[in-house]
């Protein structure tokens, strides 16, 4: 008699570990990620992280193998901005780790929670210039919220638990875990800490104190009721705190116009008459006029950065009262002296304020704001039949509808997307604000689509930026991540070209992407049609990576192409051959005040 036995699989799936089970550091890390609720991670393997990868493909965690570690880090960032959960990155030591740096710095500037795990050479070799060694803790110190080098296998579970806690609470940010190979291989009993206790980090203490009886909240409520020309100035912190409802309620109850920063777009619905859209260097005229004329400003999760304030001495000259709500005390009174500081979670602070403020009428101010909006609209009318980027973005906005997620790269197209996408909901707009990272768009869109597979994800990119992380098109194709990419190809590094045109006498020094070695160093006739053919063929590259792609060269084709992209399953790229020298208006030149606002070339 023979009994049939199914052969035991050689690499069995990971069962959740039990308390006290003896495991390797590598397995403890993966088990800890599972305990932390991680459902997806992004990354790239290598020698110093192989022990961990040995467990990764047997865990329930979905892993997206990028084609470059920078891509993986932006993907995790996109995932985090959509979900509010920490994005997870796992890479190897040395070059794997250094390739994540731009992604970590990007996340750090925009307060995006990430947990980045980097392999490291064995502890016995750390500091010896060993093969593929880099001082990751040293390199990431100034660009992360916190970092760890795990020296002892008994610390692995605790460090992972703390890392997720630190990344996602308070003002969120990236946390790096440097994980030496010998610690991955060492064994110990698995203990998942039930709670976190870090004596130098108690963000919960701030929040508990916020209530309607808080003296600063009371002061702020009085100031808001007293104000004649108040403005709500709302930043990415409001999105992170999930405070959109409270922002909206306060604005509507007290009739306060709302302007947002680039990262704050979506915190207040732009179809509301109170919306002033974005302020600052490329903000709307009406947002900048309102801030210029306001007597009270209520800053919520925003940090008065230089792209918003311009020349500090000329910023808000009539403002008598600055109320600043922020979870990060170091953001308050950093650039602007604040009269009423409220340190705490924006949602809790606004909820407390809402218990105190009463409906207020401000008809004169409301009329003034409406008049500005009417007389200085953003919409640009072109008398020609060319493809202008603004037209493409408006069409995407309309056809893809209100449920879409919009992701951008960095440059002129990014500013036009700020202007011509109607931002209605939080966590539906992803753009690198603080660091302004070219190459962010495509991988962040991939991460966003992984986070929200049922929503349309549109990436609006430039021809320069798309080439910075183009390799991730393959990642999207192989993993069936159906992002839609619109490349606005002006054949220039457009934003830099715009500055060269305005401030450097049209000396287009190395911003023309058609430039070849045979060109004269100083181009005598920019945009003369006589120049060399554009490379690469972006549509062909997309197709080579397994995408569907089309080039659109006539205005009449814009809508059909977008419709086609929406209906075509899988990832799709549309390349729009746009007018080469369009500029972003309005513009307040760097370091200037609102009086220096430029509205078009004719005014220069």
């Amino acid at each position: 008699m023979t009994t049939e036995t199914t052969p035991k699989p050689q690499h069995p799936p990971l069962e959740p570990a039990t308390e006290g089970q003896v495991l390797s550091g590598a397995e403890i890390l993966v088990q800890s990620l599972m305990r932390a609720g991680v459902d997806v991670a992004f990354g790239y393997p290598g020698g110093a992280i192989m022990d961990t990868f040995h467990f990764l493909n047997r865990s329930p965690i979905e892993f997206i193998l990028s084609r470059h570690e920078q891509g993986a880090t932006h993907m995790a960032d996109g995932y985090a901005r959509v979900t509010g959960k920490a994005g997870v990155v796992i890479v190897t030591s040395g070059p794997g780790a250094t390739n994540t740096i731009t992604g970590i710095a990007t996340a750090n500037m925009d307060s995006v929670p990430l947990v980045v795990i980097t392999g490291q050479v064995p502890t016995t070799m750390v500091g010896n210039d060993a093969f593929q060694e880099a001082d990751v803790v040293g390199i990431t110190r100034p660009i992360s919220k916190h970092n760890y080098l795990i020296n002892d296998v008994r610390d692995v579970a605790r460090v992972v638990r703390e890392a997720f806690h630190i990344a996602t609470t308070g003002r969120p940010g990236p946390v790096v875990i440097d994980f030496p190979k010998d610690v991955q291989q060492a064994q110990t009993a698995f203990h998942w800490p039930e709670s976190v206790d870090i004596r130098g980090y108690r963000p919960d203490r701030l929040e508990k104190k916020i209530s309607p009886s808080h003296p600063m909240v009371q002061k702020a409520a009085k100031a808001i009721m007293r104000a004649k020309r108040p403005v709500l100035y709302v930043g990415g912190g409001a999105v992170i705190a999930g405070a959109s409802e409270e922002v909206t309620a306060l604005a509507r109850r007290c009739q306060i116009p709302v302007t947002t920063t680039l990262t704050g777009l979506g915190a207040f619905p732009e179809d509301d008459p109170l919306s002033l859209q974005m302020l600052g260097m490329h903000g709307t005229e009406y947002a900048n006029y309102a801030v210029d004329q306001c007597d009270t400003i209520i800053a919520v999760g925003a940090r008065f950065d230089d792209r918003v304030t311009g020349k500090i001495a000329e910023f808000m000259p009539q403002c008598e009262c600055v109320i600043h709500i922020d979870i990060d005390p170091s953001s308050i009174s950093k650039n602007i002296q604040v009269d009423i500081p409220i340190t705490g979670d924006a949602k809790a602070c606004l909820a407390a304020l809402l218990e105190l403020v009463e409906p207020t009428e401000r008809s004169e101010w409301a009329e003034q704001v409406l008049a500005w909006k009417k007389h200085h609209p953003l919409r640009e009318e072109f008398g020609d039949d060319e493809i202008h980027p603004q037209r493409v973005i408006s069409a995407i906005d309309e056809i893809a509808g209100p449920d879409k997620i919009t992701v951008t790269d960095v440059g002129q197209h990014q500013m036009w997307a700020c202007h011509f996408i109607t931002h209605l909901r939080p966590r539906s707009w992803l753009s690198s604000g603080g660091l302004g990272t070219m190459g962010y768009g495509l991988p962040a869109a991939i991460g966003a689509k992984v986070a929200a597979p049922d929503r349309a994800v549109w990436c609006i990119s430039g021809d320069g930026g798309i080439q910075m992380n183009m390799q991730e098109m393959t990642t999207a194709a192989l993993n069936e991540i159906a992002v839609k990419v619109a490349v606005l190809n002006n054949q220039y590094l457009g934003m830099v070209r715009q500055w060269q045109q305005l401030f450097y006498g049209r000396n287009y020094s190395y911003t023309c992407l058609r430039r070849r070695s045979i060109c004269e160093k100083v181009c005598r006739d920019p945009g003369s049609g006589k120049c060399q053919a554009y490379l690469p063929n972006i549509v062909a590259m997309a197709e080579a990576c397994g995408w569907q792609a089309q080039r659109v060269e006539r205005r009449a084709g814009i809508r059909d192409a977008i419709q086609w992209a929406e209906e075509t399953p899988g990832p799709v790229l549309l390349e729009f051959s746009v007018h080469r020298e369009d500029n972003v208006w309005p513009m307040i030149p760097a370091g200037q005040g609102v009086k220096k606002m430029m509205r078009g070339m004719e005014l220069i």
């Binding site: 110190r141 100034p142 919220k145 130098g200 005390p329 170091s330 950093k334």
Partner: protein, 157 residues
């Protein structure tokens, strides 16, 4: 204005680098920084002397507090506190001047910690004013080398 900041931090490697890096990156001017473990071996205390406007100091405090490994930050400037610094100085001497130098040391409660032909090493642990005064007194004899610990400070309550 000169501020004396006392910070309790995790006694962990990298913390000093983190704080030094923060000051460097943000352009804060450190006059001195002294660090060592406390009676609780898991905690180190740093005494940092910085000069800057109130605005700058407010930022220094906030930025320090933001670091996860920093447990508590106190600006002692406005509080009652004691502050001392330890200085070692090696002064040129010969059989003729040795007695004079010893006398000056005695006046300042400084100790002679080493004597060898041609040099005498003094140690003083005192306030900045007294340290400056002693330094000026022995300068004419010729100071070979001088080392300061940086200020140490403790709140009185």
């Amino acid at each position: 204005m000169r501020h004396v900041i006392s910070a309790q931090v995790e006694n962990r490697f990298g913390v000093l680098a983190h704080i030094a890096g923060l000051f460097a990156a943000r352009g804060y001017n450190i006059e001195s920084l002294a660090v060592g473990p406390t009676h609780d071996p898991s905690i180190s205390r740093m005494t940092i002397v910085v000069t800057g406007s109130d605005r700058v100091l407010e930022q220094v405090n906030k930025q320090l507090n933001k670091l996860i490994d920093v447990i508590r930050v106190q600006d002692l400037t406005a509080e009652e506190h004691v502050e001392r610094e330890l200085v070692l100085l090696r002064v040129k001497s010969n059989p003729k001047t040795r007695g004079e130098i010893a006398q000056i040391a005695e006046l300042f409660d400084a100790r002679i910690v080493d004597v060898r032909p041609g040099a005498i090493t003094l140690m003083i642990a005192d306030t900045q004013d007294r340290i400056t005064a002693l330094t000026e007194m022995v300068r004419p004899y010729g100071i070979h080398e001088l080392v300061r610990s940086g200020s140490l400070a403790l709140a009185r309550t």
